[in-house]
Symmetry: C2
């Protein structure tokens, strides 16, 4: 993979020109894109900017995010040839920081469950996960050092786990979702993929103008609470093993690690996540559903068919549960700095018919708290499995630092 | 003006066909549009739907809200000829409820301060207010029974006051802002204009599928706290008179009315509203500002020039103030049902160079609480002045009922 942090150092030292750095990415795309299929469209002649912390950094943008220089087709024929007038604020944030947008990455249609043709870069017989399939696969295949995705259930952290890359789903609205096709306004969150935790931290710091998000040279051992999310069911052997391995490595590196139970209201929030998501999706996709029913992606259409009768009363009750759960979750962090939990039930499923199960991700999306995927182990078939570090709302720097600590511990 | 409630009754009774009701609106538009200039574009051959609670209701949509059947030009040459692929969810909500979209109404460019050419329907030498200029003027001129606007500072309540119409800025996110050009995601709120309070209540009830928003036949006298928002400065004589008149009328009709002071943290929230708005606007308008600087509307461009150095630290601190103020404001409602306050400093200013001052509105937008404008008096020159009823977050039904009570008391 291409490390953003390493590129930055070499460019700052004058060992590498920004244009050469971007050219390397374009070369890597040419080498791997034929087998992975991570891009919807590309600028094969992209040039670097000369200033900004992200000069020389080639970035891929999930194709539900508006770009003025590329079509934005949402993974659906309904938006074929659609070209937004302007760039989404997150795209402008990258450009303002000096990055070069080299293309749009594949997305499941409307960031729902209908799969893309993208293959897992570590094993072409498996899904890369979704909905941010192309962004995770492009970074995992070593094509680009940075990519943007979005998460409503588990669409950043899960594909990151499956593709063996670091990723952050930041605190809700640390990055604006303006100009991003909406699924659920209470849930949708823009996230970043990179080779390692320090890489995504530098990307996020540059995009937001928040230098304190960069991981410091030395990270003090965090107090870690391990949560198994039993309410979400039992993981596969590989998922359980990854959680144990990360907890053990962190403990051996000096972290205080203990198992934690989450308050019942938090489990209840996990249960009602679909109520919030589906009620809002009925509105978000109203035009597509009413005017383009036949052209709708079949899995999303079925989901909308089935959730048509959601009531404002159920939705209001679900939002109330979410608010109480956020308050209860905040108190869990009185005793620990971060939580450590599963990124997915196991490794990427075989085949492309499913993008995998977001059941260990969706709670954190509803809570709005920052989550970082840390690649943890590789199982048979070369398939990676990650774990998730969760920090309190707004403590993205803490999430990144602790994730970097665990990443370092795993590397020892 | 055209009352939505009356149309509904006549249509339900079979006294009026939906098509005739829409035809009446189209006729009224032809009669008044030449002098008012409330529309950017229209469908002069619009037909009614045959089902739904809003069948026969002709609606105007502020031109920063996406429509597939009309261009959406944001009041700016930067979006000239721009045609969104789909309808915004609020537009679909109207269509699903049976309404007929008859056109797009004028908006100040990007819903900021650069005025439109729209005239106040009660006195052509005065502004109709902004930024939802056309929507307020079209309802005030009796052209249409319902229109959509948006508010980031005071862009629904203020023009409603200036144009002598009822309006609601609902609780934050009761209506989704998906497909609405973003100014500030923490503040932007979609609102409704109608002839009277019962009219906007019926419109909102139909759009949201929440029948309890309709005002009941008999409303119990509410406990009203009068707040002058001294932190926002002194109103003009007309504004002060409207507040006194509404308070007196409500008291005479049986309401318990008393003056209330707001907690200091709430005043502080009023002060930091611009910090939130401007920091987010820097991101929301990044593409327009960087790529179309010369074509930017001058007042908005100056605002962006001046607020370029806003820092994440100041923004985070402002959001923290807002959160604490929301909690403090909630306790104010322990003793009263609703608040009564100013909708504007006075009547609509003369000329079209300014759309008026949102200083009495912006606090409530940041608090996310429902606000209803109630037309209260008419001053020299035929210019209306309104007052605002404010209810707790989520208590939109209570805001509408109390506003209807005050409206009734004023009519006695």
């Amino acid at each position: 993979m291409i490390s953003l942090a390493e590129l930055q150092v070499r460019i700052e030292r004058g060992e590498l020109s920004p244009d050469t750095a971007v050219a390397h990415s374009l070369e890597a795309i040419r080498a791997h894109e034929g087998t992975v299929g991570a891009f919807v469209c590309r600028d094969d002649h992209a040039r670097a900017q000369t200033t900004g912390p992200l000069r020389g950094i080639a970035v891929g943008i999930k194709d539900i995010i508006d770009t003025a220089d590329f079509p934005t087709e949402m993974g659906s024929q309904i938006y074929r040839g659609h070209r937004p007038r302007g760039d989404a604020p997150v795209v402008m944030a990258l450009k303002r920081a000096g990055a070069t947008i080299v293309g749009k990455t594949t997305t499941t249609a409307f960031a729902a469950n209908d799969p893309t043709a993208t293959l897992n870069p570590h094993n072409g017989a498996h899904t890369p996960g979704g909905s941010s399939s192309g962004s995770a696969a492009a970074v995992g295949a070593g094509m680009i050092p940075l990519a943007l995705g979005t998460q409503t259930g588990g669409s950043v952290i899960r594909p990151a786990s499956f593709c063996g890359v670091a990723a952050i789903k930041p605190s809700y609205r640390l990055l604006p979702t303006v100009g991003v096709k909406c699924f659920s306004w209470t849930l949708d969150t823009v996230g970043l993929f990179g080779a390692g935790v320090r890489d995504v931290a530098l990307g996020l710091a540059a995009m937001t103008g928040r230098p304190d998000l960069a991981v410091p040279m030395n990270v003090a051992p965090p107090r870690i609470g391990v949560v198994t999310q039993a309410f979400a069911g039992t993981p596969e052997a590989a998922g359980a093993e990854a959680l144990q391995k990360a907890a053990r490595a962190a403990g051996q590196a000096g972290a205080a690690v203990r198992e934690l139970a989450l308050p019942e209201i938090v489990a209840e929030a996990w249960r009602i996540h679909p109520v919030v998501q589906d009620f809002e999706a009925q509105q978000s996709f109203a035009w597509e559903y009413e005017q383009n029913y036949d052209a709708m992606p079949p899995l999303l259409r079925s989901r909308l068919d089935e959730s048509k009768d959601g009531t404002p009363r159920d939705y209001d009750a679900a939002l109330d549960v979410a608010a109480r759960a956020r308050a209860a979750l905040a108190t869990v962090f009185d005793d620990v700095d971060v939580l450590l939990t599963l990124s997915a039930p196991g490794a990427a499923p075989a085949g492309l018919s499913s993008t995998g199960d977001p059941r260990y991700n969706r709670l954190w999306t509803l809570m709005g708290v920052p989550c970082v995927n840390v690649p943890t182990l590789v199982v048979e078939g070369g398939l990676p499995v990650g774990v998730t570090i969760v920090a309190p709302f707004g403590a993205d720097a803490k999430a990144l630092a602790a994730a970097s600590f665990v990443e370092g511990a795993l590397g020892k």
